[in-house]
Symmetry: C2
DNA sequence: CTAGCCGTCAGGAAAACCCTGACATTTGCG
DNA sequence: CGCAAATGTCAGGGTTTTCCTGACGGCTAG
């Protein structure tokens, strides 16, 4: 079927989710400069966002990954489930491989960094609205290494961490040695080593630096 | 210049510094809704910001603390020196005692969190333009504890860390090994070990956990 | 019932870390 | 000026920790 001659100037309806009102208002002001875009809702946390998404069924959800109540990945996941027609455009400061991978697995349609030029925003929205996949130039390179190499065996599930793995990881990121973490959890050092290794492998991390970055972005180190 | 009877129609001239163009554009859109405010410059990094400040001598510099090239505190410091008439309004996501303390010592006029309501922004600008000090409600409580207790341990002049010690400590807290830190600093592993040991000893830390806690409270693990 | 994840752990090699010096500069102070 | 203290730089050697490779029983789902 051929495309219509006059592409109907159908307005793209957008829901914004960002925990920083000042940033959200700014993004809103930006996207509204495009007459084809309409902001149908704004939320400052994950739960409100999910509620508004269910209510308004927007075309695109512009989602900040760092949220106070729910992890951005969790929100994306639930959005996919509860509002399958919503496209998700992640808008974030995080340039971590881990986030990108998780979000791609969840099925987002775009990943844009806040440090990108403002023109990228409208470009990304246009691309996503058209049904495409948009990745920020700065992370596009990661996508290839991310999509190909991982997990011949995790066909069913995604990179969910088990309870023990999360516990050890938090302690490790807080500066505890495997031995110390093991003592705290009341298990053997070797077990702690195993959990940490498995978790790191699941997350695709190979160095403690990456782990600490992840921990910071997860809010694990807020004391 | 004659004084007018009505409140001064003088426009507040503002310079914006934020490394995320999308956020910066948003803030710009927000402040421009106030007719008394004029944005005279925008910069995405510290150096450009300092240059523009010298060029335009704005009334207020709205400064994001997380910058790629220079630390926000450094930028504030140099702004105070090079452009003494500029008021500085820190706009940031960081709620750390450490940052706030450092910035207050440098002599900023305002501290606003991005998670605050948009109305706070104009309020803060107005307050700062009027020569006042504005602190975000969320950090105002910290200010009192911050202004009084000036390093109880430094009574004899001891808790001062040398440059190298701080550098290695930051890297260590971020998850770098001594070896990795040494490589980054371009020194031998043994030197890095020495700095770290001396610094830990000065601070009275025995474990990495204490170090990480300290780093978090100092805001070293953000950005 | 077979496969995979989970919690638990070992052995041995490799890497990182801590402790003890060491030495040359720089800097404050009597 | 000269000396002691602080700083930047590094090595040797013993101790810990981490890393890599398995392993084994319990549970759950296909």
């Amino acid at each position: 079927m051929t495309t219509t001659l006059l592409t109907k100037p159908r307005v793209v309806r957008i829901l914004l989710i960002d925990d920083h009102p000042i940033v959200l208002a700014g993004v809103k002001a930006l996207v509204m400069t495009d007459p084809n875009v309409e902001v149908v809702g704004e939320a400052f946390d994950g739960r409100s966002g999910l509620r508004l998404a269910a209510e308004f069924a927007p075309d695109i959800v512009v989602l900040d990954i760092s949220l106070p109540d729910l992890n951005g990945v969790k929100v994306a996941e639930r959005l996919r489930a509860e509002c399958p027609n919503c496209k998700i455009l992640a808008l974030t400061v995080h340039e971590d491989r881990g986030y990108l991978r998780q979000l791609l697995e969840v099925g987002i349609s775009g990943y844009l960094l806040k440090r990108s030029a403002t023109t990228e925003l409208s470009r990304a929205i246009a691309a996503v609205a058209a049904g495409g996949l948009y990745l920020d130039p700065a992370v596009a390179g990661m996508a290839v290494e991310v999509s190909a190499p991982r997990l011949p065996e995790s066909t069913t599930g995604r990179a969910e961490l088990s309870q023990r793995e999360v516990e050890v990881l938090k302690l490790a990121a807080s500066g505890h040695s495997n031995k110390s973490a093991a003592a705290i959890l009341g298990i053997g050092v070797k077990s702690a080593e195993t959990y940490k290794a498995r978790a790191m492998e699941k997350l695709g991390f190979r160095t403690r630096v990456e782990l600490v970055r992840f921990a910071v972005s997860e809010g694990w180190l807020k004391n």
